[in-house]
């Protein structure tokens, strides 16, 4: 197992190289460039050249890439063109809110999807099963930003029940308990909206996996030797039905990150998604590049974790 993990990590290195080259090229293909986007349009040619030289943008692209790569290996990810802070600092500020939103939505989606999928798979053809299927069709077909806007309208404007933007109430200093309560209130809507698409997709997957597993002989054997229905469902069926779901969840990690970016923008959540959109508009190359590559690292790790989880859940799977 240990050797397998090491081999997989080594295999990921050329892929990351390819990703970094592709993203580096792509970013520099964007029209405008930092000088054109956010500096004084009346700047003289010499002024432009000076700024380009300051950011190192006057060198040929391959040279810029190699320099960026060498710096990255030394843990120096560059400095934001906009704020002049180091990229590590910029990302460090925006990472915690995204982590909060991402992990809470992921957890919620997993729990709800596994529960709904298991129950509707076990009670195939029941009213509950049909409602879960119908709801999952709704969730899959609904654009996430439209759902977010609707939720803001209903819970914020009509019901006045929940805050619709930001991570905490601005301008008020709370004691620690109320501050946590305030943050939780702000989290509820974005978390729900982000998780709904994935609840829809995963519960459908979980359901069909459950239906498939329940036809297996070992389920009948377990029932025959006297195990109770619920015990068979939880210990025998659920465990086996989870295996295919793991791959789907791992593959969807990238989409959750993208969905988080959309949700953050709709709910003015001060995380990486917002940072990405604003850096894209400002052509902030170092920040953009780091975020894209961080995203790729994240997806690759998720896929590796999925393969390791397989082996834990299903001891028959051996990697060599």
């Amino acid at each position: 197992m240990g050797r397998y993990i090491i081999r997989r990590v080594i295999q990921a290195i050329p892929l990351l190289f390819l990703v970094s080259i592709a993203m580096f090229g792509l970013i520099h293909l964007m029209p405008g460039g930092p000088v054109g986007v956010f500096l004084n349009p009346h700047l003289s040619a010499e002024g432009r050249a000076a700024i380009n030289a300051r950011f190192g943008l006057n060198q040929p692209l391959p040279v810029q890439y190699v320099k960026w790569l060498l710096n990255t290996f030394q843990g120096n990810f560059g400095f934001s063109f906009v704020t002049n802070q180091s990229v590590t600092q910029v990302l460090g500020e925006h990472f915690p809110p995204t982590l909060e939103l991402f992990s809470s939505a992921l957890l919620l989606a997993l729990i709800v999807a596994v529960f709904l999928g298991t129950v509707s798979g076990a009670r195939q053809g029941s009213v509950l099963d049909y409602s879960v299927t119908t709801l999952s069709y709704f969730g899959i077909s609904m654009p996430i930003f439209f759902l977010g806007l609707l939720a803001q309208e209903v819970f914020g404007i009509w019901l006045h029940a929940l805050p619709v933007s930001g991570q905490s109430t601005a301008g008020i200093v709370f004691d620690p308990f109320n501050a946590a309560w305030d943050q939780l209130n702000h989290l509820i809507l974005p978390m729900l909206i982000l998780s709904i698409t994935f609840i829809a997709g995963w519960s459908r997957y979980m359901r069909s996996s459950m239906v498939e597993v329940r036809k297996q002989d070992y389920i009948r054997t377990a029932r025959a030797k006297g195990a109770s229905t619920s015990s068979v469902l939880i210990h025998h069926a659920l465990r086996n039905a989870l295996i295919p779901l793991i791959t789907v969840v791992a593959i969807d990690f990238g989409s959750i990150a993208g969905g988080a970016a959309i949700t953050e923008t709709v709910f003015a959540w001060p995380g990486m998604g917002q940072l990405f959109i604003s850096s894209l508009e400002a052509r902030d190359y170092p920040v953009l590049l780091s975020m894209l590559i961080l995203g790729a690292v994240f997806v690759i790790i998720a896929n590796l974790l999925a393969d390791i989880l397989y082996a834990i859940i299903d001891p028959r799977i051996r990697y060599s």
């Binding site: 892929l15 390819l18 990703v19 592709a22 993203m23 792509l26 970013i27 293909l29 964007m30 029209p31 069709y137 709704f138 899959i140 077909s141 609904m142 654009p143 996430i144 930003f145 439209f146 806007l149 609707l150 803001q152 309208e153 404007i157 593959i251 990238g254 989409s255 990150a257 993208g258 969905g259 970016a261 959309i262 923008t265 990405f276 959109i277 894209l280 953009l288 975020m291 894209l292 995203g295 790729a296 994240f298 997806v299 690759i300």
Partner: protein
């Protein structure tokens, strides 16, 4: 030896068939395509989706001419429209902040959204099938390049990559957004076709065709491709819905199609600013996207069930 004799006798048997062909049995003789089509027709949810899509296409493309709501950019300030007017006989979906007819705009935007969904699907299919077939059939360099390319595309979070690509590749016109979405969608299609081809190319019927002298090109597109058609058709249908959502996300964030063109996505983005005054400006285009994508998903799943050879006819 025994079996071959038996085979000969059954093939050249001139005797009367043992089972008499009653009218009930004759009726059951249908072509494979007919069976699949009948199975699809009897799937109620899929048919609702299909009928809705046909209606949607008809309304969006013929509606402006038939109903006379053919001027989405006209400002109806003087002729009874006014701003933010609620739905009425004259303006079935009301008017927006500058008095534009929302019904006309919804149909106009629907044309663009549907064209983008359908045509980028078509381009993705052509690219995906050709490249996936070459990679799956021949393996080697094409296969390697394809797999590395899709690895790169799959490892970067989808929307982030899409946003960056949109600034590089589009000028925010419908044509450039179609181009963007289709070069984005072909990779998954190519993976699917590739795996189908790898699974099919060692099958007996391919060997048989090769034995009687069929060339590679013929084997790929006349023999293997029809056998891989099921998953391709199903995914193509689901891809249309997906593409419509991608377009709406791009347009909502201002990376996709921009005014003067209306699409359902940028209508939501535009209406978002007037959510307090007139929520209909957001809800109508949003519902149209939702119902259209839902219908494509229902039809796609209906096709999957209809094409599934394990679902026996009852």
């Amino acid at each position: 030896m025994d079996s071959s004799e038996q085979l000969n006798t059954t093939i050249f048997d001139d005797e009367e068939p043992i089972i008499e062909l009653t009218s009930a049995l004759v009726q059951k003789r249908r072509s494979q395509g007919r069976i699949i089509f009948d199975r699809f027709l009897s799937n109620r949810t899929a048919m609702i989706g299909a009928i809705f899509l046909i209606l949607m296409l008809a309304i969006c493309f013929l509606g402006p001419t038939i109903t006379g709501h053919n001027n989405p950019d006209f400002l109806h300030l003087a002729d009874g429209g006014g701003t933010f007017s609620p739905p009425s006989w004259q303006f079935p979906l009301g008017t927006d902040d500058v008095g534009r007819d929302q019904f006309a705009r919804a149909m106009d935007g629907g044309q663009v959204s549907l064209i983008i969904g359908l045509s980028s699907m078509a381009i993705s299919i052509v690219l995906g099938v050709v490249i996936g077939a070459l990679a799956g059939y021949f393996g080697g360099i094409i296969d390697n390049i394809l797999m590395r390319l899709t690895d790169v595309v799959l490892s970067v979070p989808l929307y982030l990559l899409l946003f960056v690509l949109s600034t590089v590749l589009t000028d925010h016109s419908p044509r450039s957004v179609i181009f963007l979405i289709s070069i984005f969608g072909w990779t998954t299609m190519a993976r699917l076709v590739r795996s189908e081809f790898i699974a099919q190319k060692e099958r007996e019927y391919v060997m048989a065709a090769r034995t009687i002298g069929a060339k590679n090109f013929r084997l790929m597109f006349r023999h293997i491709l029809p056998n891989a058609a099921g998953p391709i058709i199903v995914n193509a249908t689901l891809l249309v819905g997906n593409n419509i959502i991608l377009e709406s996300v791009l347009s909502f964030f201002g990376f996709g199609i921009q005014p003067p063109y209306a699409t359902w996505g940028n209508m939501i983005a535009y209406g978002q600013g007037f959510m307090d005054t007139d929520a209909l400006l957001v809800i109508i285009p949003g519902l149209l996207i939702f119902l259209t994508v839902l219908s494509f998903n229902l039809v796609g799943d209906g096709l999957r069930d209809a094409l599934d050879p394990y679902m026996t006819e009852r």
